[in-house]
Amino acid sequence: MAGEVKTKLSKNLLRMKFMQRGLDSQTKKQLEEEEKKIISEEHWYLDVPDLKEKESCIIEERSFLQCEDLVYGRMSFKGFNPEIEKLMIKINSKCKEEEIEEDDKMEADVSDEEMARRYETLVGTIGRKFLRKRDQRVLKDDDEDDEVEEGNSNTRPSKRAKKMFLKPQD
């Protein structure tokens, strides 16, 4: 009785995001294309030959702010209103900064190559922090694997993880 009728899920439900997480990319693409086809068929368009848009190079503007270089309208002198004086300094320095930025580029303290080298090792060490313990050990074993293979051939594949007591040689 239980296996007879399988509840059929509606199309809308299947289209929801949480139902599509399990699908592989191919079926996802297919579904997307189907959706697009439905939309583009319903889309209305004008059956008129394409008029070429004349791109004009002139912008009309009613404001003087864009034409002239005007200062900010709120000012204070000789320390009458300290906040406004601070604001004036900030706005003026912002204007000057824009001018300076165009001129020179700041010299980097660290060269690009060194940065790349450091970053390479950094990613590995920080990434290891977030692995679970088992994965960490496996990763470390892999590292040791590479190192040891070049060196001596003493191999104990299964038991290498365990640290055995090393008897001191007489």
């Binding site: 004349k54 190079c57 002139i58 912008i59 003087f64 204070s76 009458f80």
Partner: protein
Amino acid sequence: MAAERGTAAEALVGQVVLPGDLLLLPAHYDEDAEGERLRLSAGTAPQGRLLCGPGLRRSGAGLLVTKCGLLRHRPAGGGAYWVDSQQKRYVPVKGDHVIGIVTAKAGDVFRLDVGGSEPASLSYLAFEGATKRNRPNVQVGDLIYGQFVVANKDMEPEMVCIDSSGKSNGMGIIGQDGFLFKVSLGLIRKLLAPKCEIIQELSQLYPFELVLGMNGRIWVKAKTVQQTLIIVNILEACEYMTPQQRKQALAKLSGN
């Protein structure tokens, strides 16, 4: 009707132009029907688009003048032409910083008089740090320095006292005391020019605070009433004084 032949825009820079004059622009600004974009002309083609400022209108082959005044030109950033005209009546323009007087409180919105044809509206949430519970303390008759966010001939102008990132940046309620007066719009633009001599000379006199609105309104506050009135008188008169007369007047004052 015979079409008027225009004159080259570059020839008239700095001269008086009248409404109805047609200004012709260099060839590379013309719209090409065939699709050729850049024609090799003698001069270098500037990058970017030409800005057609107040007093000018785009019309077919060039720019049509709509206000009388001096034609100005700025070559940087694609170039800009505009007419430097004189007027006393302000027309709200988007982006302008103006001083408004609160005339009414209507629910969530304040009505401000900015000197235009309609009162502007200012929402109480358009102040820095304002929430529905934390309302700004604005009374009828207060002065507010803000900028226009909507300003065209079809809609009522709207103002805000914060910029796009939510900071007030000096805008908001202008404090107590002080003196508000009206001047022509041309003088305001002269005073707001970078390195304005009038402002520099005045700043040597007394400590004072100054707010300039693009709608022709100026608010001044100094330590005593007398100093405030002196500054007001100088600002009102300096529009028609020559630099020598102005320096004389200031020298007399600083001698006092």
